[in-house]
C-alpha cells in the first residue's frame, strides 16, 4: 500500500524536492508531494478548519506565487498519511547569540564574557524555541501526524564578514561548548515540539561537520526551490544529497509501518 507524504515548508524544501528521484528509489512505498513558499510567505500560511494549507484569504499574489512554484495554490493535508514541515531556524540564531555573548557559569570555559546561569541559558533557549513552535502549532492546527525538520545548519563555509556572512553560526564554530549547546538545543526543541504534538526530525549526523555547521559538500550546487537549474551556492540552502539524507531520517521517524519496509541503506549520490 502506497502511503502519501506531504513535504511542506520554506525554501529549504528545495533540497528534498530535487532529491525526489532518489527518494522514490529509496522509499518505493511512499508517494511524496512537495509544496513550498519563501520563508516570509510560508509563515503567513495556515491550515483552515477543513485541513487545507494555504496562503491568507485574499492574498492573491501569494496564491499566484504558490501556484507558479507548486502547481497548486493550496494543499489539502487531509489527503496525506503524514506531513513533514521543513521549517525555519526555530529560534536557533537567538540561542547562538546568547551562547556567544555570555559565559555560562556552570560550564568550565571563561572567555571574559558576562556570566549567565545555566537555568538562564535554558530559559532563553526555551523561550526562543517556544515562540516558533507556537507559530507552527497554530499554522498546522489539526494536522496529524506532523513531523518537523528545522532549516539546515549553514555549511562551514559561512563567515563572520563578507558575502557569505552568517552570524551567529560562523562565530559559534570556535565555541568551546558548541557540542553541549547543540545537545541542549536539540533536546529543548524536541521537547517543545512533542508538547505541541509534533515530532522532531533532526538533521542527519552524516551531514554535520561540526555543531551547527553542515559539511560543505552539501551546500554545493544547491538549487533554488522555485526554479530547477538556478544554482544558489549560498551555503544556507542544501543540495539534493542533503535532501535525500534528511528524508531517510524522516522515514526512520515514520517507522516501518508507515514506510512499508525497513529503510534502505544510504545510496551513493
Amino acid at each position: 500500500m502506497t502511503r502519501r507524504i506531504a513535504v511542506v515548508g520554506t525554501s529549504n524544501i528545495g533540497a528534498l524536492k530535487y532529491a525526489a528521484g532518489s527518494i522514490a528509489l529509496d522509499h518505493p512505498g511512499l508517494s511524496v508531494t512537495f509544496w513550498g513558499l519563501p520563508g516570509g510567505k510560508f509563515a503567513e500560511c495556515a491550515t483552515d478548519p477543513g485541513g487545507v494549507f494555504q496562503p491568507l484569504p485574499g492574498d492573491t499574489e501569494t496564491r499566484k506565487l504558490a501556484q507558479r512554484i507548486n502547481g497548486a495554490d493550496h494543499l489539502d493535508l487531509t489527503r496525506f498519511d503524514a506531513t513533514l514541515v521543513i521549517a525555519d531556524t526555530m529560534g536557533l540564531p537567538s540561542v547562538l547569540f546568547v551562547a556567544g555573548n555570555y559565559d555560562v557559569i556552570d560550564w568550565p570555559p571563561r572567555r571574559g564574557k558576562p556570566l549567565l546561569s545555566e537555568p538562564g541559558f535554558r530559559a532563553a533557549m526555551d523561550e526562543a524555541i517556544a515562540a516558533r513552535a507556537d507559530d507552527l502549532a497554530r499554522q498546522f492546527r489539526g494536522v496529524a501526524p506532523l513531523y518537523l525538520a528545522r532549516a539546515p545548519y549553514p555549511t562551514t563555509v559561512v563567515t563572520r564578514r563578507g558575502k557569505l556572512r552568517l552570524e551567529p553560526f560562523a562565530s559559534v564554530a570556535g565555541h568551546p561548548e558548541a557540542a553541549r549547546i547543540e545537545l541542549l538545543y536539540t533536546e529543548a526543541l524536541s521537547r517543545a515540539l512533542a508538547e505541541r504534538k509534533m515530532a522532531f526530525v533532526a538533521q542527519p549526523q552524516d551531514t554535520i561537520a561540526a555543531p551547527f555547521l553542515t559539511r560543505p559538500e552539501f551546500g554545493k550546487d544547491a538549487m533554488d526551490f522555485r526554479a530547477a537549474g538556478r544554482v544558489l551556492d549560498d551555503h544556507r540552502h542544501m543540495n539534493a544529497a542533503f535532501g535525500a539524507s534528511l528524508f531517510r531520517a524522516f522515514a526512520l521517524a515514520l517507522g516501518p509501518d508507515m514506510t512499508g519496509a525497513a529503510p534502505t541503506p544510504a545510496r551513493q549520490e
Binding site: 546568547v98 555573548n101 557559569i105 556570566l115 546561569s117 530559559a123 551567529p168
Partner: protein
C-alpha cells in the same frame, strides 16, 4: 471682607478643587521638579519593586536609563525579565530598604562583607542579597559569589556613570543577621535559606536610622560622583506581610509614614534631593474605582501609567523625543516582587 492667610492661595492649596472635583491624576501642580531631567540625563534606578515601573516609564520616554548588565542580543524578553536583566541600573534586584542600599554600596567599595551571603534550598544556592535574579538558584556557593563579584563591578560602573539616582523607598521592615547587622531583602526561608531565631533578628527601621543610612550612602556616592542628584519616591505598594505585632494595615501605614517623613527631611536638607509623590498619587481618594487591583496591593497599570505620565510631563518628557528608540509599554507588565511570596505563609 476679612483677610485670611488662605486668601489668594492657588487652587492646589485647597482639597476642594485641588483633589475633589478634579481627576485623580489631573494634578499638574502636584510636582514641581527641583532639577530637570532631560533626554540626555543619565538616570540610575533602584529601589523596591515599584521602582521597576519608574525605570520602565523612563525608558519608554527615551531617557538614558543606565543598564550596565543588560540583556545581550538573543536574550528573549520574558527570560530577561525573570532573571533580572534590564530592570535596574545593574542586576542587583529589588532594594527594599535604605539599609540594604547602604550595605550594597559599602560592599561595592570594599567596606563591607555580608554575612551568610549564600542561602541553600534543595541543593541549589541563592544570592541572599538578591535572591530574585536567579529564580532557580545556582549550582554552588562559588557560582553565587562569582556572579556577585560581576554584579558589584557592574554596579560601580553604573554609579560612576549616573547623574541622577532615582530611588524608590519601599519598606522599613527587614531581617538582619544578628551578629553582624547584615540585612537581607527577603526573610530567610522565603525563597531559600532557613529561619533560625538565634541567627536572624527582625528590625523595623525608624526615621533616624533611615536618615543615617541614606546620608551614609549619599556621602559615599558623592566621593565617587560629586555632582550626583537624587530623586526619591515612596512605593505605594502595601506590605505583603508584617513581622511586627501590629496588623498589616497599621504596619503598612507606619512603614510608609516613616519613609514619607524621611523623604521630606532629606528634601529639605539638600537642593540635590527631590521628591516625587508616587505614594500620594496612588493613595489619593479621588480614584473613582480605587488605585489598586483586586489584590488591593498591585497598583492598577493605568494608574501607574497616569502617575508616570504626570512625572514625565512635569519634566517636559511626556512625548518621546524624536530619533529616540522608545520601548512599547506592555499592558501585561507586572513588577516582580519577592515579598509577595510571604503570602504563602498565611494561616
Amino acid at each position: 471682607m476679612s483677610v485670611s492667610p488662605y486668601s489668594g492661595l492657588p487652587q492646589r492649596a485647597f482639597w476642594r478643587g485641588g483633589v475633589s472635583g478634579v481627576g485623580a491624576l489631573d494634578l499638574p501642580e502636584v510636582y514641581h521638579p527641583r532639577f530637570a531631567l532631560t533626554p540626555e540625563t543619565r538616570v540610575f534606578t533602584a529601589g523596591s519593586c515599584f521602582a521597576q515601573h519608574v525605570g520602565a516609564a523612563m525608558k519608554r520616554a527615551g531617557l538614558r536609563v543606565i543598564d550596565t548588565e543588560p540583556a545581550l542580543r538573543g536574550m528573549p524578553p520574558e527570560t530577561a525579565k525573570r532573571f533580572g536583566y534590564g530592570t535596574y541600573a545593574a542586576r542587583f534586584g529589588n532594594i527594599y530598604t535604605v539599609r540594604q542600599f547602604r550595605q550594597l554600596v559599602e560592599e561595592m567599595l570594599g567596606l563591607f562583607t555580608p554575612a551568610l551571603p549564600v542561602w541553600e534550598k534543595s541543593g541549589r544556592y541563592w544570592d541572599a542579597l538578591r535572591p530574585g535574579v536567579e529564580p532557580e538558584g545556582l549550582a554552588s556557593p562559588e557560582q553565587v559569589m562569582e556572579m556577585r563579584a560581576q554584579n558589584l563591578i557592574a554596579l560601580a560602573r553604573a554609579v560612576q556613570d549616573a547623574e541622577v539616582m532615582v530611588f524608590t523607598l519601599g519598606l522599613t521592615e527587614a531581617w538582619e543577621h544578628r551578629a553582624t547587622g547584615t540585612v537581607y531583602p527577603t526573610a530567610p526561608g522565603t525563597i531559600a535559606g532557613a529561619y533560625d531565631p538565634d541567627t536572624f533578628v527582625f528590625r523595623n527601621h525608624g526615621v533616624a536610622e533611615i536618615l543615617e543610612d541614606f546620608t551614609a550612602v549619599e556621602e559615599m556616592l558623592a566621593e565617587i560622583n560629586p555632582d550626583l542628584k537624587w530623586l526619591l519616591t515612596v512605593s505605594p505598594v502595601p506590605l505583603a506581610a508584617t513581622a511586627t505585632d501590629d496588623h498589616v494595615l497599621t504596619a503598612t501605614m507606619r512603614s510608609k509614614a516613616v519613609l514619607r517623613v524621611v523623604c521630606d527631611m532629606l528634601k529639605d536638607s539638600s537642593d540635590r534631593i527631590d521628591y516625587f509623590p508616587s505614594y500620594e498619587l496612588v493613595m489619593s481618594p479621588a480614584h473613582p474605582t480605587g488605585a489598586f487591583a483586586e489584590d488591593l496591593r498591585s497598583v492598577r497599570p493605568e494608574v501607574v501609567d497616569g502617575i508616570m505620565g504626570l512625572f514625565l510631563a512635569a519634566h517636559g518628557l511626556a512625548d518621546r523625543p524624536e530619533g529616540k528608540q522608545a520601548e512599547t509599554p506592555d499592558p501585561e507588565d507586572e513588577a516582580i516582587c519577592e515579598d509577595v511570596l510571604l503570602d504563602a505563609f498565611r494561616p
